[in-house]
Symmetry: D2
Subunit: 258 residues, 4 copies
């Protein structure tokens, strides 16, 4: 599916501070960047890196004053398919060593505390079936409600609050999958048909020898997702990280099928 | 320095469960394994892996009943030196991309909550000087007290409790370094002259273009440390991780200069 | 119902410390103390108080070394009846001013965080019906498991862990009732037929112009409960509170119908 | 000191909800209400109560739509004096039974977690001297910063964040006093010379056979404080509590010497 994505970010960095953007489309197998452009006002000489494991790209600079950044790309995101229930769950011993990390608890996903709940609630199921049951539970039990959470909200808190946004849904999903013995990690993305349009947080699970993308909010079809960055949870995939504070001036993000 | 290390671990896995040991000496630049052996009773056919980034080695198997594991090695750990105060701290923009991850908060190190405290308390210092001030603060303010913490204790909790063991000291140190803009990560080790002898948790910071090991407890000299595993915090470096529960029968760990 | 209760508590207070026991049967309307005795070895000259609101009695002293305390009583606990579903829930405006306090969150019962969950889960019900639904939920969703919690465990944590003892069940019940607009408070008690016998923690709710006792564990019949102390949560009703630490030597508690 | 106080509160209750105001000057020994008036638009028929222990007064009603409330009073608050360092601290056994409650941890004041810190930091001092040392520590270590905390912030969190408002300073002070064996409780007040003027949260400690008011922020002189309500922490003294949500339209609070 060919998708045109665009992000306009205007932030004020006052006092000046180090900043890292993760907004460019990832170089990821099956996902092809057909064209892209990046412009800023004023002009910024970014340090550009690409993560070897995820193909995630970062832009770093010491920024001051108001900085307007526009990123555009046309991407073929390949053929992404929803997770089938029959997907196989592996024993720890059959997992590739490099995915074991994604069984560990992380800042926003204290999966070590959810073993009993996961077993009680999803105990009769494994693999793709279990992930789908987890997604079903999240959609039934958590309200999508902007403003109900903030940048410190963990899955433990969302579990109590029963409300959050895509980031919280993703943390809840990752937590319950890891607690179920299924490797899971966070992905940031552009999302076709997400309404209102914005950066999206989703996650992927390791089953049947591959990573499968799922959207716990159900707000955007998997087919229309364009990967940006990947990591253990929101701590790793924020689209803008700064050492000091910064102020949002305005922001818009779009993703449209071409 | 040549060091003979030995770990005897006897655990009971009942009911049977998947288990991962991280107890072998790492393959790490400057650290040479001169000889080593691994035996178990009963015999276990482990899946053995080695992490590319850290040279950390894992032993995986599905275990049942009582399993006694003995690991021995003679290691030359090279020349490890204490951190000098003059060590230079890098701006974010001067850091290698691959160490940026170790600025992020993690399960046991919520560094995002400690920015104000770090600035208030260590604000006039940077680099090696700052890390040494952090270590000084930890040794003055936190009591080394076995039993004061458990496997869920975070640095936020230790900061309140003012007591813990090497794992907690390490989490506290990592948290304050990351909150100070210094990449920091957890390391498990054998430690010469650690008393009582046990696996040790320490951490390392990225300064002056390299990782420097520090022991926040001050219980073992840096010169006598032998690396095992490395990661964001205790979630990544546990010497034994199991999917279900397991029972300690007995355990001893030693490290002696040859 | 006539019940003979007995508590034998042997603790060591080393170093010496101030201590408060709340173990005597309360002077409470409908509950009659027929006979009672209190002996200690060595002899202790306790300061004895009785709380005006609850008829709860406290024994205070500065204690040192091993202290063995035996309390015995025969009590007629009157006619305690289980909560009928038809019990009426009052609007805030119809509540007596003095019960409003029991709508507030407390140390172990952060009811302010559970409003959405309570409404989502028990939303269609009010009054006695709602309390019974809450008890049903607790018994279905929380495992009674000694060792799963400790003296710092809050209802927020039990909600995640899905396991605990009578104290945790009581905190969970109080939290969900307060979050539902129903005043609730903790009660310590001797409990006929509790197995294994021990001090019991239960709670009571204000409905239909009176307090109704409920046992969220379902382990002891309401008819056989003998009140000791009452308060917002475990912080107020502990059978032994000390300023420093103390060591359990042995303890036994019994309650038998006469 | 004669003080004229005034509170203008305009809130919107949509959907309608039960509400409790605690804004009237307390009937408290030494504090005399010379004149007062309460008006609302529209007219509301409040249920009015007065707490026996604290002389705190509550206004309750089921409210809908926009409600403007104006309360005015002229009060002689008597002669309030700052706490002298020589004030005596009592052993538990010398405390009146009714103040023991204020040694217990509460929703926002988990004093049970701060014993070690209190002893380490204030260990050489007792009584008035210790309370003054605690106040000095708070003023040196916590920044007064509106927006740094919210209605769920506990003293444990403020201890980490090192920032907050009067409510947080009060919770921090209560927590450290209780952890030091000194009964402490929260008080809401009008405060002469508070800038910017607002409702104020302070606390009082039991020493030398009486309660002594202290202002941990140091923003208002003790002499100019006019008591409103009292309790364990902010959960008990909020000036407006509602069962559902409500929306602030505008609010102003003043206190001026006559």
């Amino acid at each position: 599916m060919k998708i045109r994505v665009r992000a306009d970010l205007v932030y004020r960095f006052d006092p000046p501070t180090d900043a890292i953007y993760k907004i460019q489309v990832a170089h990821w197998p099956g996902q092809t960047v057909i064209e892209e452009s990046l412009t800023t006002t004023p002009e910024i000489d970014f340090i550009q890196d690409e993560d070897e494991e995820f193909g995630a790209r970062t832009l770093r600079a010491h920024l001051s004053g108001e900085v307007a950044l526009t990123y555009q790309a046309v991407v073929d995101n390949g053929v992404l398919k929803g997770l089938p229930p029959v997907t196989v769950q592996h024993d720890w011993n059959d997992l590739p060593a490099e995915v074991l990390t994604y069984l560990n608890p992380s800042r926003y996903c204290p999966s070590d505390q959810f073993g009993r709940f996961a077993e009680r609630t999803f105990g009769g199921t494994i693999g793709g079936d279990r992930v789908l049951k987890i997604l079903e539970w999240i959609r039934a039990e958590i309200d999508y409600e902007p403003g109900a959470s903030d940048s410190e909200t963990t899955a433990a808190r969302t579990f109590i609050d029963r409300a959050g946004v895509c980031r919280d849904f993703t943390h809840m999903g990752i937590t319950l999958c890891r607690a179920s013995g299924i490797p899971a990690r966070a992905v940031s993305a552009f999302a076709h048909q997400l309404n209102p349009p914005d950066f999206h947080a989703i996650f992927e699970v390791w089953l049947s020898n591959g990573w499968w993308l799922v959207d716990p909010t159900g707000l955007a079809p998997v087919e229309g997702l364009v990967r940006i960055a990947c990591g253990r949870d929101a701590a790793d995939i924020a689209f803008l990280t700064t050492q000091g504070s910064c102020q949002l001036v305005r922001q818009s993000v779009t993703a449209e099928a071409v």
